[in-house]
Symmetry: C3
Subunit: 341 residues, 3 copies
Amino acid sequence: MIGVQELVQIINGQYLGKSDIDIDGVASLNRADEHKISFLSNKKYTKYISTTRAGCIIVDQAFDISAYNYKNFVVCKDAYLGFALALSYFYKNQLKSNFKSHKASIDKTAQISEEAYIGDFTYIAENVKIGHSSIMPMVYIGENTIIKDNCIIYPNVTIRENVEIGNNVIIHSGSVIGSDGFGYVNNNGKHYKIPQVGKVIIEDDVEIGSNTSIDRATLDETIIKKGSKIDNLVQIAHNVEIGENSILVSQCGISGSTKIGNNVILAGQVGIAGHLKIADNTIITAKSGVGTNIKKSGIYSGIPVYDHAKWLKSSATMPRLPELYRKIQELENRIKELEKK
Amino acid sequence: MIGVQELVQIINGQYLGKSDIDIDGVASLNRADEHKISFLSNKKYTKYISTTRAGCIIVDQAFDISAYNYKNFVVCKDAYLGFALALSYFYKNQLKSNFKSHKASIDKTAQISEEAYIGDFTYIAENVKIGHSSIMPMVYIGENTIIKDNCIIYPNVTIRENVEIGNNVIIHSGSVIGSDGFGYVNNNGKHYKIPQVGKVIIEDDVEIGSNTSIDRATLDETIIKKGSKIDNLVQIAHNVEIGENSILVSQCGISGSTKIGNNVILAGQVGIAGHLKIADNTIITAKSGVGTNIKKSGIYSGIPVYDHAKWLKSSATMPRLPELYRKIQELENRIKELEKK
Amino acid sequence: MIGVQELVQIINGQYLGKSDIDIDGVASLNRADEHKISFLSNKKYTKYISTTRAGCIIVDQAFDISAYNYKNFVVCKDAYLGFALALSYFYKNQLKSNFKSHKASIDKTAQISEEAYIGDFTYIAENVKIGHSSIMPMVYIGENTIIKDNCIIYPNVTIRENVEIGNNVIIHSGSVIGSDGFGYVNNNGKHYKIPQVGKVIIEDDVEIGSNTSIDRATLDETIIKKGSKIDNLVQIAHNVEIGENSILVSQCGISGSTKIGNNVILAGQVGIAGHLKIADNTIITAKSGVGTNIKKSGIYSGIPVYDHAKWLKSSATMPRLPELYRKIQELENRIKELEKK
């Protein structure tokens, strides 16, 4: 429970409403009661403003509150950011501390901080180093791997040998960091495995979703740079480099040795071929396929990709292709008639 | 071993054949021996009818048996349903009961039915409730999660905190229920995590394949309604709602807050953008991408989708686009000639 | 440490350089020091030849070394194969032996070779047979499953009951072998599960990436034939057959009962519909969708696929479709003018 005036300061908002409300949590417009703070960040949900029972409502500066002046509004530069700050106030993260389960299997050469949490049935191999981080139950951590501070590794994650993980990294369940790259050489029709002996480096502030695979490098390293966020079921092949603060949405796949720049957004189910460079600030829209370098930042779509604005027009014409065919035949017939004259 | 007449009653068939056969199992046409019941539900395999050694063969009413009247046929309204019923007679499901492994880690506050099966190396957190269900080895179940009766949770599944699972639910290995939604707010180029504090609700009779990810809601809940079936490697984002009896084939992905109706079929590798509504009874064909609401049920294809019948024609013209270009150039030249006259 | 002359013999190369170098490992051109062997197999990296500090460099016969005659070259028929052989010399595989963890749960009916390695928290069910193979920690192996010799099963893999795994098989973390096929029969709007009681057979020399799902057959078996290599996050449905020495790149999906031939390459995110046959030596390019049998080997692209060379041309015209529309309208107007005369 916190006074609304105090909460509004925490989320950098301007408060327009009754001053004596107490707030005990965050809820959606539909579900909020009079002790909840709610928010409007997507216009689709504006209709719920008039009916919500929320104690107060975070809105953007641009939102016209005049039609609802009986409501308690919190005006923020970015309502979504205000909402995130409010949520972060009420719900702390899941970092657990100061526990080493006697049901875990921890090699005697591992160096584990007193402040670390190591859950049941977790396996920690030789020479692993772990700082003040939460390693939940049922996690595998291979030889020589390093995990710094303030990380949460969720259950059923596998982190193989020689992986380096920075600070404030979150890895969700089922993900695999450091599986072998998919490298073979064909000799007389048989595929011979190329040993995959490189590393994976995950820098600070990276979050990795559930059931995502990040392969180790053949040589050298696969790197995810600081601040990048990776969704569920994403494939990152060997020797890939992801720049800083990039966003990889679910089910996208990056082939071997490709370098993705900073602040790039790859939407869902995007695929990128191998040995490419994608410029900083590039956006690739959902389901698109990239087969060549992208040197100039912009929005790209299609299989293979081209300029998104052009793609919108081209894809809008797709359903009319059969009609186009008939039209061309008709024109040819009319030309034939003219030619006969 | 069961007499064929008795088995035929169980599967609601009409029997045309020798009455004294004993049946001890179900087999495909190619592999069946004289004590097996087999079936024909896909016409592609009709050629095997004449050579099969099966004791009897389930066929649809529409199948013309006159050419094979020396065979023992079981005529069903739906051969595939008859086959399923025969299989279900011979092979019981894998629900195990009445066992709590001393190698499991079960919090003392958990309420677990005497009839439940809890396998080795399974972790059950605070305040979990489990009915008469099988929790196989190596499963993680987080705080406050509820699993009702007759469920099978296969090895290496992760079910996070505050998840509600109904009756008769099956979850296959490697799947993750309740990982954090992929929600960030960008402030000055950095992505700040929005705490994901909602739930996942899985209603009765839902089956979830292997290595599928279902994210918890930011607020409120992600819901899979009763009778829906989800295949392997499927992505269900935060706050998604899947209606009743829908089918999501492998590798499809649903973005945040989208509502899928009842009896919808999403074929393999389909992608659906966020904040959309898909009408009941809609079918989206494989690899298609949906970027807008679908208000009218029907079959849709393409990236982005449009009417499937139109898509079939348009996609058939795709290989002829270069030819179309040349034709247009030719027509223009002929027009120029005419214009000179 | 090995003399360069001796190493060159091991990798079947011809040596052009100073004879007294000792080599202690393999490194990329950028990272190598004077005791490392490096390689050039992708022309993109030729620029690094002049600056590398590598002790010697493996190149193809076709590479023109004349411009760099101060470097120590090892000329191989296939530089990539030479590199793979050098790596294999320095880095042995991860097969561990002769250990059964007392923290594993091994059924007393299981038959496990003295030479096998069984890691902590691994669960081995009734009647399992395991040869001289490494079963890493946290692996589940179901009843009656057989694993022969020289296999490595990485942590958090699930292998269900009645699976047969040959020799030299590698399965990476998070993968699930033998989850139920996605089979239902619809009766009055409800989906009834068809019991999935067949097997999975993985033949010799197969490698399976991380977080891949291979479903068991409904009846009979799902088969991966010898020498095939499967990448991460791949979906193989029930009753699929993959031929010998085929390559399935990440995130591709094969629907039920489809038969893929020998030496086939399916690139990333490819989808293949059910009940199809794909001819030997076929290549399907990334993100393509196959909806009909492929009877003739070749390279295919598109959704649905057609000849790759044609697809290259057609997809190049896609961005120009709107222009094509305008051109046709213009031609029609010109024809109208001519018709007026």
